[in-house]
């Protein structure tokens, strides 16, 4: 290890492709634009005070969501580029190297930098409000989680223009991802970007675990929690016990690449398969980390728009607990064909199939929540309803894949690709749309336009099925994943064309959704009541957007769907007669941003093997931690008169709103 090595890599700035130059120009213009707008409107102070240093879970949630939508755009562009290249046999739109980079960044970004922050955004928005808390257990740590995620995402994304993108697939299998076969900064970006954001994820897991276990409103026993809160709790547990495996796996491969260790190399007797093993010990639970919160969101939406409490609440909870335990004992099904013997393959086949049982229980409970309901087809409900048959297809093909001997035929083919897109898009992405639209009024105080939302929904759904149903077929026809082109005459051409059309439709659906947001900012229906959907859980009992302190008085809970029962029993007045008290809140802090900047510097240094810079970054991180240890945040109090003013303002508008509508 040479501390003073500042060797410039062969290509510091990525060159050669017109698309990359275009991206370069766009990035520079966008950055200049942002700087100009902030300076011209004198908004730097506002940015720092209101956003960069905030510890408010609602604002952190919004920042997660903005990042996630941006990353959805980036990952989606990757997908559309891939589909364009595969539309016809023998196309030369992308070359092999470029295609390899694009599918690698597509997968990594969608899982780590899109699905995860989207889910975390919604958790941040909804969970403290659902349990009647003022904030999360550790607000500053929550901000740090976000900023570490942002630093990791930024680091990963700049690989596109500086140094070159990773190109060994999002699974980054060794020995391909080792130094020998894949030198240069690309894979380092993958390792360090994931590492930095992964640390943030782990801290979020701990934060939400403690928040949900210790900060619920009085009377809210565990079995009275809203289902989204339950799913967040279970997800947090999986995060806490799965993410350290990723941390270690990434660190070991980093040591292989940067410091000449031999964990996964052929030289020095390392074992390439060990990477696959460790990666999937984390990777399979990771799938449930992004799908369980989705289940939670669907549960909330279904029960709200069917006007019925969730059917089989306790079975829903137990099935999630079962899934969380099973998720740790199925990982080998990702590499049945890697020489594991028949005993191992049989055992992991069976454990994998077992997961379908609690999942099936959940599906039937949702169906019976709808049964005898009064179903309103709002946009969030449409996404949720679409989820049921879509996820069903993903689920049953999952059981088919679980059968090891059959998997020898599906593995690495488009059949597999279609399967996990049916679960991850049909589960997680649909839930992200459903949850975003559902909680949108709670975040911003107005609803998204329903008509545009429905257009975007239908176009996306049609596109999705056009894109992925044929993939099952061409998988069975022998088309493997990750090939950048294919010859004519194999019977793949027509189907690929249909898939590409589907992908473009999904892109159009997304574009309409973005337009829907822009349109609704001006024309969206204002939510004056705080309860635009006739909701059931506590987040709808406070104003939209919720005040800084969430609840003027911490609510008392007696039932599942606490707010619904309070509305039925007209218990609002009782609640409001209690006296107000000053509310204790945490202070803003710039430390999370600063620490994350140091982390970014460290990551960037190690990506280029400029170890001195890496170490300086790490020392900065340690310094920040020590500073924090010596400066305990004592918080501050919001006085009663301020609370009264805030509440009175909302009540007045709300009353006016009610008199207009009724």
């Amino acid at each position: 290890m040479d501390l003073f090595n500042f060797k410039k890599p062969e290509h510091f700035f990525v060159t050669g492709e017109p698309m990359i130059y275009m991206a370069d120009v766009l990035i520079v213009l966008t950055m200049l634009g942002i700087v100009f707008v902030l300076t011209y409107y004198k908004k730097w102070r506002w940015l720092w005070d209101e956003w960069l240093t905030t510890v408010d879970h609602k604002k952190i949630g919004i920042m997660y969501l903005i990042s996630a939508v941006l990353m959805l755009f980036r990952g989606g562009v990757d997908a559309v580029l891939m589909r364009t290249q595969l539309a016809l046999p023998n196309l030369k739109f992308l070359n092999a190297q470029h295609y390899n980079e694009i599918f690698t960044t597509h997968g990594t970004i969608m899982i780590i930098f899109m699905a995860m922050p989207f889910i975390f955004g919604l958790m941040n928005i909804a969970v403290p409000l659902q349990i009647g808390a003022r904030d999360v257990a550790f607000p500053a740590l929550n901000a740090l989680s976000f900023w570490l995620f942002a630093a990791g995402a930024l680091l990963f994304n700049i690989s596109f223009v500086i140094g070159g993108s990773p190109d060994a697939g999002w699974t980054s299998y060794t020995p391909l991802a080792g130094n020998e076969l894949d030198p240069g900064p690309g894979e380092n970006y993958y390792l360090l970007g994931l590492q930095i954001s992964g640390i943030g994820t782990l801290m979020s897991g701990i934060n939400f675990l403690v928040t949900i276990l210790k900060m619920r409103a009085p009377g809210m026993k565990l079995m009275k929690m809203p289902m989204f809160t339950w799913s967040t709790l279970i997800t947090s547990i999986i995060i806490i016990f799965a993410f350290p495996v990723l941390t270690v796996a990434l660190a070991l491969l980093t040591m292989d690449r940067l410091f000449g260790a031999h964990f996964f190399t052929i030289a020095g007797d390392g074992m390439p398969m060990l990477w696959a093993n460790l990666f999937w010990i984390w990777g399979h639970p990771e799938v449930y980390i992004v799908i369980l919160p989705a289940f939670g969101i669907f549960s909330e939406v279904i029960s709200t728009f069917a006007r019925k409490r969730l059917f089989g609440y306790s079975a829903m909870v137990y099935s999630m607990v079962a899934i969380s335990a099973l998720s740790f004992v199925v990982w080998v099904h990702h590499f049945f064909t890697m020489g594991s013997g028949p005993w191992i393959n049989s055992l992991f086949s069976i454990t994998t199939m077992l997961i379908s049982i609690p999942t099936g229980v959940k599906i039937f409970n949702w169906l019976f929540t709808l049964y005898k309901g009064r179903i309103r087809f709002t946009t969030p409900m449409l996404w949720t309803l679409a989820f049921i048959p879509t996820f069903l297809v993903g689920g049953i093909t999952g059981v088919m894949l679980a059968s090891a001997p059959a998997d020898y035929q599906y593995h690495n083919s488009y059949f597999l690709i279609s399967h996990f897109h049916y679960t991850l898009i049909g589960g997680t992405v649909f839930a992200c749309f459903a949850g975003l639209i559902y909680w949108w009024p709670k975040m911003f105080g107005f609803k998204l336009n329903e008509r545009l939302g429905k257009w975007s929904f239908w176009i996306f759904i049609i596109g999705f099925n056009l894109c992925f149903i044929p993939m099952y077929l061409i998988g069975l026809k022998g088309m493997p994943r990750r090939i950048y082109t294919y010859p004519a005459g194999l019977g793949w051409g027509t189907w690929n064309m249909i898939e590409t059309i589907g992908a473009y439709l999904m892109g159009i659906g997304f574009a309409i959704f973005v337009y829907c947001i822009i349109y609704s900012i001006r024309h969206g229906e204002r939510d004056t009541t705080g309860d635009p959907w006739d909701g059931r859980t506590l987040e709808w009992s406070t104003s939209s957007p919720a005040p800084e302190y969430n609840f003027a008085r911490i609510p008392q809970v007696n039932e599942i769907d606490a707010f619904w029962y309070r509305k039925r029993n007209k218990a609002m007045k009782v609640e409001e007669s209690k006296p107000l008290k000053p509310i204790h809140m945490p202070n803003k802090t710039g430390l999370p941003v600063i620490l994350s900047i140091f982390m970014f510097i460290a990551g960037f240094g190690f990506v280029f093997e400029w170890h001195l810079i890496g170490i300086i970054g790490l020392l900065g991180v340690l310094g920040c931690l020590a500073w924090r240890s010596l400066h305990e945040d004592k918080g501050f109090y919001i006085p009663v008169d301020i609370i009264q003013q805030t509440e009175a303002k909302w009540k007045k508008v709300s009353a006016r709103g009610k008199s207009i509508t009724s």
Binding site: M273, F328, W331, G339, G341, P342, I344
Partner: protein
Amino acid sequence: MEHPNTLKKHIFGFLWSLILTFAALLITLRTNLPLGWKVTIIVTLAFFQLIIQLLYFMHLTEGDSKWIQVVNIVYGLFVAIVTVAGSIWIMLYNTMTH
């Protein structure tokens, strides 16, 4: 429950940890047991030490959240054992069965 950590308990815990450590050492180096037995015994002794530390030094069963703490550690150990045993099985013994 609130103040279980008397001096006596600490000394008790310390002595046990020393005894278990030396027992493991002697069993490993000074007996002729088959390797499988040695491994089983000393790993068991290590788990005993773990329990002693958790109960006598770390006050695992103390505070409002004692059940959460216990479940947390048990779940952690479950994942740890699955990870270690599963990896060894998959990496070293996977095709030895036939």
